[in-house]
């Protein structure tokens, strides 16, 4: 989960890394504050979890109260990549001597943290990586050990030829590694640009990406108002509902609703539907051993989506049992009497028990099960998908 720039910078400041003087503005801003608190020229920056804000006009340089107000008005409530700008950060414009790049992330091939540093910081670091690869220095660190001060000095001295700022830069590297990256289960900590003003360093931007699975053990983040978040763009009603229930759910532009087991097969089934000439309406993940409540919510999302013409469902019982799945589907059907055709397949752990549940429900209310097929292991999964694709063409 990425943090907003202002959240990342608050963590920097708390740990002794300089950031520019700033003011965070939301919709309830008292305009008077702009007059009294800001040193001009200043920079108005949209707080939004997207990259390349500079190139996209989401960062504006202002030199008066009027320009500031105008910049805020232009940015606030704007939609970008499906997200809405709800806050802007106003910062004093710093007179930077040089811009550096500094980040820490995990190299998933070497399975090690890596500290990346370059004296060619600024907006186009990926470009630098292509054109001046020798100017990007990578320091790999063994897992499970704190960075030692001498390592930070070594890294700092390699890029930094201005000797008086060496120790300050080394301290920033040390802090970033030990007090942020290691301490907060971060996947990424990045300062770009890291500005140098004579012998001082200042973080002009900040990106922190926390491992969602480790977030819960950092109550200090929650105390700072940082909430567990999943990165998503603007959500429609169904996506919001899914998010509220903790269900990964993304709508696509097809008409076949996918009601899969886990995420892996969910992704594969979208490919297979395409392979056989159809188009999936969504990605969805039940998670391991979903509750019946969750399964019913998932089905409801597809039924509520007007683009969905046919539902393709599959349960291969592993940790998620067929009987639980059958129970949830039957209860949904018996309660909601859905009209959309459901082409499904169920096999795996507790399949017989699941089969019995379907047979029982169908016997009691055959009228509600007319459009519902539940195949077993003897019908290959791709035959089931083909049938769903063909059914979607008919409807």
């Amino acid at each position: 989960m990425r943090l907003y720039e202002y959240e990342a910078k608050a963590l920097f400041r708390e740990n002794g890394i300089n950031i520019p003087e700033s003011l965070l503005i939301d919709k309830n801003v008292q305009w008077d504050i702009l007059k009294t608190h800001i040193t001009y020229p200043a920079v108005v920056k949209a707080q939004i979890l997207t990259g390349k804000r500079g190139k996209r006009g989401l960062i504006k340089i202002v030199s008066s109260k009027e320009e500031t107000a105008q910049a805020i008005n232009t940015l606030m409530d704007t939609r970008i990549d499906g997200m809405i700008i709800e806050k802007v950060l106003i910062e004093r414009k710093e007179n930077i001597t040089e811009e550096y790049y500094l980040s820490i992330t995990i190299d998933r091939m070497r399975h090690k943290p890596v500290i990346i540093i370059s004296h060619r910081g600024g907006m186009d670091i990926e470009e630098v990586n292509k054109t001046f690869p020798a100017d990007i220095y990578k320091y790999y660190k063994d897992v499970g050990e704190k960075l030692q001060p001498y390592e930070a000095r070594k890294i700092a001295s390699i890029v930094n030829t201005k000797r008086k700022s060496l120790l300050n830069l080394a301290n920033i590297i040390l802090t970033l590694y030990n007090k942020l990256f290691l301490k907060f289960d971060a996947k990424l900590v990045e300062i770009n640009p890291l500005g140098r003003i004579e012998n001082h360093w200042i973080a002009l931007d900040g990106k922190i990406d926390i491992d969602e699975d480790g977030f819960i053990r950092h109550p200090e983040l929650k105390e700072q108002g940082i909430q567990l978040r999943h990165e998503v763009g603007e959500l429609n009603e169904r996506e919001k509902k899914a998010k509220a229930s903790g269900i990964p759910y993304v709508e696509l532009d097809g008409n076949i609703g996918v009601f899969p087991g886990g995420a892996g097969f969910g992704i594969a089934s979208i490919d297979l539907i395409a392979h056989y000439g159809g188009k999936a309406a969504n990605f969805m993940d039940s998670g391991g051993a979903p509750t019946q409540e969750r399964l019913k919510t998932m089905l409801g999302l597809l039924m509520d989506n007007p683009n969905v013409k046919v539902i393709f469902g599959a349960r291969f019982g592993g940790i998620s049992r067929c009987d639980d799945w059958a129970k949830a589907v039957c209860e949904y059907v018996l309660t909601n009497h859905p009209k959309k055709p459901m082409i499904m397949r169920m096999t795996g752990n507790m399949e017989e028990e699941g089969r019995k549940i379907f047979d029982e429900a169908k016997k009691q209310h055959p009228e509600y099960f007319k459009h519902i097929a539940v195949y077993s292991a003897d019908k290959p999964i791709e035959e089931v998908i083909k049938e769903a694709v063909n059914k979607a063409k008919e409807v």
Binding site: P113, L188, D213, G214, G264, I267, A268, I273, A274, G318
Partner: protein, 291 residues
Amino acid sequence: MAILVDENTKLLIQGITGKNASFHAKLMKQYGTKILAGVTPGKRGETIEDIPVFDTVFDAKANYPEINTTSIWVPPLFAKDAILEAIDANIKNIIVITERIPIHDMLYARKKAIEKGINVVGGNTPGIISPEKALVGMLPRKTFRKGHIGTVARSGAITYYLANTLNLAGYGESTSVGIGGDPILGMTFGDILKLFDEDPDTHAVIMAGEIGGVYEEMAKETIKNMKKPVLAFISGRYAPKGKRMGHAGAIVEGNLGTAQSKIDALREAGATILETFSEIPLRLKELNILP
């Protein structure tokens, strides 16, 4: 023969008193897997499905020194500790069912395992089955049939569909391995492929990957050096686009992680690329691999 689990597997279950663990303990036992003991701290003296429960892995091993494999079912924030405990007790195969283990935890646990030459499979693996020999995890036992195809997949359900597809065409599996769906894994595709290449009972291997991560691309060199044919299924060509790890990710990993990068790498290594499950029997026959 088979890989990782077989008739000589003597299993421990860490977190055995949990709901899923105790349910699947029963299923594994029914399948014939030899489960010697379970561990839940503070529950010493209890039994689950007639399996004795101990406080620590050391207790369990002191009582059953023949334990050579463990499966881990504890909550995610306790998984690192459970893996380290199993490593310290020198259990050679650690199969981690737990999902969503924090990345920093798993990096540490896998490093310690590698230092001691211990196999860690997962986290977030559905398990491993060597049909008619042993099942560790929660794979649906009836889906798998004894044979000579090795399979290795990130997704549980895809492991099942591969077996299901093979079996409908008369093939069977030497071993089916779920390597797990978590972002950082113990053994990766390459590690498992090497084991299959050395296993006389395995005639060909099917690997199933998906978008995200770099483990498929990392298998490239292994596949190049393999004696046995590899078939590869990569899903995610039509998936919604994932996010990247900022500039740092691009600097470290370049353009890896897309379905296309994986397909390109594997094809270049000599793997047969699969688009559907149903073509598997055709491709196997083209490679002269018969049931």
